[in-house]
């Protein structure tokens, strides 16, 4: 395998685990944190997909495209919050 992987591959996940290890008091706490991140990642992907589907192609498109390129994140957050109201809860 070394023939194919001469250089160490990206280790972003290692960076996350390293940082969590630094702030965790035990292996159990570290494991719980990693599991929580995994669950929340799924949760967030559902929120993003459904909010994007809710908004894309509506009469809000022009405003959202302008906001995406501006530094005004607070107004964009209002759209996300209303998307969250639609999304409600993940129940995972």
């Amino acid at each position: 395998m070394g023939l194919f992987y001469k250089k160490e591959r990206s280790t972003e996940h290692h960076e996350i685990v390293t940082r969590l290890h630094e702030i965790s008091h035990s292996t159990d706490e570290l494991a719980n944190s990693v599991l929580a991140i995994m669950v929340i990642s799924v949760n967030l992907s559902l929120i993003m997909a459904n909010t994007f589907d809710l908004l894309l192609g509506t009469d809000l498109d022009a405003s959202l495209k302008d906001l995406a390129k501006s530094s005004d994140s607070s107004t964009f957050n209002g759209y996300v919050l209303e998307g969250l109201r639609d999304y409600l809860s993940t129940l995972i």
Binding site: F52, T58, L81, L84
Partner: protein, 142 residues
């Protein structure tokens, strides 16, 4: 406010809980062990709390919404909103981003009637039922 919506259509309907003690919640009397269904879909879209609840109003206060179990509970609302917002801002920053033509540009989901908690299920790339959204193709100008 936008009226270009047929009404918000929540992906999740609610969740079950078991009362751990005899108690009164609002007008409801619960005994220990009673199983209740928290209908978040209705609660978050009721006209009693939200003016023109079925319309999309990005200036509306979120404080009266019920967030249940999920990212908001574990990450907190500010971080959850920031993560989602930053990702969607990055997607919307693509030039003239729009849905792909036909069915490919629609999220393949349908009403799921067998589970009271989940309102929708999705179709994956093999058109098999999945609990996760798989396919929504978009286009943008290079």
């Amino acid at each position: 406010m936008s009226d270009d919506f047929k009404g918000l259509d929540a992906p999740f309907q609610g969740f079950y809980r078991v009362s751990t003690k005899d108690q009164n919640i609002g007008s409801h009397t619960l005994k220990k062990g009673d199983r209740i269904f928290v209908d978040m879909g209705t609660a978050n879209q009721t006209e009693k709390v939200f003016t023109k609840a079925a319309t999309f109003d990005h200036t509306r206060s979120f404080s009266s919404a019920i967030d249940g179990d999920g990212a908001i509970k574990y990450l907190g609302q500010p971080l959850t909103v920031r993560i989602v917002s930053e990702v969607l801002r990055a997607v919307y920053a693509y030039n003239n981003i729009r849905r792909a033509p036909g069915k490919s540009g629609k999220l393949k989901r349908f009403t799921e009637g067998t589970n009271a908690q989940y309102r929708h299920a999705y179709l994956d790339s093999n058109d098999l039922i999945s609990p996760w959204p798989n396919s929504l193709t978009v286009q943008f100008d290079a």
